[in-house]
Amino acid sequence: MGFLNWWQSEKDELEGSETQMDLLGQSQELAPPRKRVDGAIVFRRFTKAIQANGGDEDAYQNSIVEETRELFDCVVDELYQGTGAKRGRRNTLPQAAQEAYMVNESLSANQLEQLEGTIGGDSQRDVNEHIQSVVKQQSQRTRKWLPW
């Protein structure tokens, strides 16, 4: 299925649609509010996908740990220190690192969104571990395309 077909079937859910009456009293569909996508938008989609699958704060935290280790062979702390970036401010990381996070979080969110409603388990821990393994696997795949 090409993008346009996919888009046709998904757009209502992804963007919704709003209408407004024009001067003649006819309903006009409004242009959806779109904007340039940056790392923060992708990151929010990623964290939302973790939560939508039932992941809690540990699932988020551990996913970040796994993602960072697979993509960069180090921990978040080392990444910030080693690149002279300001901790907690992703926009101060080198462009290559920001891009790697962005692309991986986008692809991981795609995977997680497809799994929505299917991840279950006896405990919160089971659910978290399932989510973390999805992120870890995707990160391993993404890593293969990175130049380091």
């Binding site: 964290t47 740990v65 978040v76 901790r87 907690g88």
Partner: protein
């Protein structure tokens, strides 16, 4: 006199498991990834007598704060996810201590 504990205060076995899990996450990324149980015991003992509940609470809160600090990729998520202590969260009762531990890092306020 002991303070009155809320009815749903975490039991000692769970406290230990949580401390251990957090420690594992913190240490799993070091070197060869092999966890040394002895190191865990020593670290917990540095907070006091391992037979005391207080010791485990101190250890847990320090480990949670350290994890939040060392794996803080994004300040926005630190506030909206990591430190959003809702009453239904398991770490809710320790929220003040975890935050206090976090604030001991010199650049903690800048991160927030």
């Amino acid at each position: 006199m002991d303070k009155i504990k809320p009815l749903d205060a975490m039991k000692l076995p769970e406290l230990k498991t949580r401390a251990r899990d957090t420690w594992n996450t913190l240490n799993s990324w070091k070197g060869d990834g092999v966890l040394q149980p002895e190191n865990f015991k020593c670290e917990v003992a540095s907070f006091g007598d391992r037979r005391r509940r207080d010791t485990w609470i101190k250890a847990l809160c320090r480990f949670r704060a350290m994890l939040a600090y060392k794996s803080c990729l994004d300040s926005w998520a630190l506030l909206t996810i990591t430190f959003t202590f809702r009453p239904d969260r398991w770490d809710y009762e320790y929220r003040h201590q975890i935050l206090d531990e976090f604030l001991k890092y010199p650049d903690a306020l800048e991160i927030i």
